[in-house]
Symmetry: C2
Subunit: 344 residues, 2 copies
DNA sequence: ATGAAAGCGCTAACAA
DNA sequence: TTGTTAGCGCTTTCAT
C-alpha cells in the first residue's frame, strides 16, 4: 500500500509486464481477446504497483463518465441515509461515484437545475427517488437529452424505464387487518403526501381492508397529511377531537404517527390504553418514541441498491438491447411493537 | 438551456469569441492578464453557448482534481444530513464534487480504505467528521501522503491544520446553570461516546457548572453513554433506579435523552412532573418525543460549510503559504422547550 | 495581453 | 491475440 502523489500510469504497468498499453487497457476493461497467461501477468503487475486507472482519463477518452446522481427532495434524514447507503453500495461495487443532488419537486427551476447538473457533472444517468420518480416533465426532458434514469417507488409504473418498488398497498392492507383482529372497529387514517405514490397505495390498502372486513368507511376518519411530524400533529388533533373518536390511527408514515402520539399525550389520551397508533417505514424514531409504534419495515436501502444497479447496467449497455420497462419488487414486514391489543 | 449530448468545448467558445483557447482558459480560471472587454466578450459567449469546462479534462491536464471526500463514522442520520448539506453547499459554490466515504473509526483497515479512496478517486483533500477528526494514525498518514484535510469538532486542537469547532463546554455549562436556576440540585449526566471530543467537553461543562454553584459531584449521578438511544435507555435505567434519584438528567446528545425519556415512561415516572430531561444537538427527534426536550442547537451544517471552504482554500493554495493551524468557532444556542420548571 | 504547442492517461479505430 | 496511432478537452510552459 502506498500513498497519493505520483500516480502509477498504464505505461508503467505495460512496461513492467512487457506488453503494450492496449493490452493493459483490455485487461482492466475485462475485454476478450487476451490470453489467460498474459492477463494474469498484467493483473499481477497491477496489484504489485497498486495501479488504478485514472477516472478522468477514462472519461475523457471513453464513451461515458463514472458519476451518477441521486436526486432527492428532502425526505426524512433516515430515509435519505438509507437511500444513499444503498446507492453507494452499488456504486462502489461497480466503480462509479455518486453525486448528491437535493432538489425541490415543485421548484420552478427543477429542470434547469438538473440540466445544469448534467452539463456540469457529465452524468450519464440519474436515480430518481420519491416524489421525483414521478416528475413527468423532468423525465421527458431526460429522455430528450439522452440521459438515463432509474426510479424508486414511482406511481406511474406504466412509463418505460427501470424502477424498483414495494407493495405498499398489500402491506397497509395487512397492517389494517392486524388492527381489526385486535378488535378495532373505528380506525382513523392519515394519508400521505399527495405527491408521493406511497401515500396513495397505503390509503388504498386501508380502504380495501376495511371493506373486506365489512367495516364502514367513515369520511371523518380520513384526514390528509403530508408525511411531516407537524402534519401528523394537526391531523391527530382533528381525529382525536371527534366526539366518537377512533380507537386506532394508522398514519402513512412514522413521522406523522409520532405526531399523533405527541398530541395524544398532550390531550391526556392514554396510549396504548385508549388508542393504538401505527406508522409506516420502521424509522429509528418509531422505536424511540413512547410507546414504540407498530410499523412496517420498508427496505429503502435495498431498493436504492437495486435501482442503482439497474441504472449502471443501462449505462453500460447503451445502444444495445433497449430492454423496455424492467420492474423489481422488494418485500415489506410488519413490526408490531406492542404485541398486545389495547383495552377497548 | 440545452441538453446533454454533444457538449460545448473550449474551442467553440474561442472561435465564436474570436480569441484563442488559452484566453478562454484564462477567463474561466479567473486569471489576470485579460483585458476587461475581451473577458466580457468571452463570458458572453460562454453564457450564450451554456459552456462548462469538462472536469475530467481539467483534472487530467491540471494540477489537482475537483473531488473532495467527506469521511464519517455512522453518526445519527440527522447529524449526517446536516454535515452533508453544509459540505455540499461549499462544494457547489466552489465547483467541487463531494464524495461520501463511510468508514469505521475502529476498523483495522481504516487506513487502507482511505488509501484506496485516494488512489481511486484522486481526491486532493478530505473532510474529517467526528470521531474521525481524531484518528491520529490516519491523519499522520494523510500528511505523509500529501493529502490535505480539514477537521470538524476535533479533540486535539493543537495538531496543525484547519479545523472548525463549537464551544461545547460553554454550552453545557450554561445548560446545567439553567437547570440549577430552575431549582434542580441532583442532576444526573450521561456522558458521550469516549471517542468523541464533544462528549468530554460537555462533561467538563457539567462539572464546572456544578462546582461553581456549590453543588456536590456525586459519582452515582455520572454514567457513561455512547451517543445511542440504547445506551441512553440503559444509563437512564441506572440513574432512575437510584434510591435518591436525580430530578434532572442531562444526556450528552438527544438520542440518549430520548432513551431516558422512554425508560422514564416505562418506569411510570412523570416527565416533566418528576423529572427534567435535557439533551444536546437539537435534532428533529428532540421535538418529536413527548414531552419535547430541552436541548442545544448545534450548527453542524455551518461547521461543515466552513470546514469545506477551508479545505478547498488549501487545495487551491497548495505550496504557497503553509498557513499553520487555522481555527474557526461556531456558536450554540439553548432551546428550552418546557419553559417551566418541573414541580420539585 | 495574447497565442502556439505539448501532453496529462486513457480508449477507440485500425493495423498487424 | 496483440500493438500502433490519434485524439478526448483542457492546462501548462514558453513564446510573442
Amino acid at each position: 500500500m502506498q500513498g497519493g502523489s505520483g500516480s502509477v500510469t498504464i505505461h508503467e504497468v505495460a512496461e513492467k509486464a512487457g506488453v503494450s498499453i492496449k493490452t493493459v487497457s483490455r485487461v482492466i476493461n475485462h475485454e476478450a481477446n487476451v490470453r489467460a497467461d498474459t492477463k494474469e501477468r498484467v493483473l499481477a503487475v497491477i496489484a504489485e504497483l497498486n495501479y488504478r486507472p485514472n477516472p478522468s482519463a477514462r472519461h475523457l477518452a471513453g464513451t461515458h463518465g463514472y458519476n451518477i446522481a441521486l436526486l432527492y427532495d428532502n425526505p426524512s434524514p433516515s430515509y435519505l441515509i438509507d437511500l444513499q447507503s444503498g446507492a453507494l453500495e452499488s456504486c462502489h461495487a461497480e466503480g462509479f461515484h455518486l453525486i448528491l443532488q437535493p432538489c425541490g419537486f415543485h421548484d420552478q427551476n427543477l429542470e434547469a437545475t438538473i440540466n445544469n447538473l448534467i452539463v456540469e457533472s457529465r452524468v450519464p444517468g440519474l436515480i430518481l427517488s420519491p416524489p421525483l420518480s414521478d416528475a413527468a416533465g423532468l423525465i421527458e426532458k431526460l429522455e430528450q437529452w439522452g440521459v438515463l434514469h432509474a426510479r424508486i417507488a414511482p406511481i406511474d409504473v406504466a412509463r418505460p424505464g427501470p424502477y424498483v418498488a414495494v407493495d405498499d398497498r398489500g402491506a397497509a392492507f395487512e397492517l389494517i387487518g392486524h388492527l381489526i383482529e385486535q378488535g378495532h372497529r373505528r380506525i382513523g387514517i392519515i394519508k400521505g403526501h399527495p405527491d408521493h405514490g406511497a401515500g396513495h397505495w397505503r390509503y388504498e390498502g386501508y380502504l380495501t381492508a376495511m371493506r373486506q372486513h365489512g367495516l364502514p368507511i367513515d369520511e371523518d376518519l380520513i384526514v390528509q397529511g403530508y408525511f411531516s411530524f407537524e402534519s401528523g400533529l394537526e391531523a391527530g388533533r382533528k381525529l382525536l377531537s371527534l366526539s366518537d373518536r377512533p380507537t386506532a390511527i394508522f398514519a402513512a408514515n412514522d413521522d406523522m404517527a409520532a405526531g399523533v402520539l405527541h398530541i395524544a399525550h398532550d390531550m391526556g389520551i392514554d396510549v396504548p390504553g385508549q388508542l393504538s397508533v401505527a406508522g409506516f417505514d420502521d424509522t429509528p424514531l418509531s422505536r424511540h418514541v413512547w410507546p414504540s409504534l407498530t410499523t412496517v419495515r420498508q427496505p429503502v436501502q435495498e431498493m436504492a441498491r437495486q435501482a442503482t444497479m439497474q441504472l449502471i447496467d443501462r449505462i453500460r449497455k447503451r445502444g444495445l438491447s433497449e430492454s423496455g420497462p424492467s420492474a423489481m419488487y422488494c418485500s415489506l414486514v410488519i413490526r408490531d411493537s406492542t404485541g398486545a391489543a389495547p383495552n377497548l
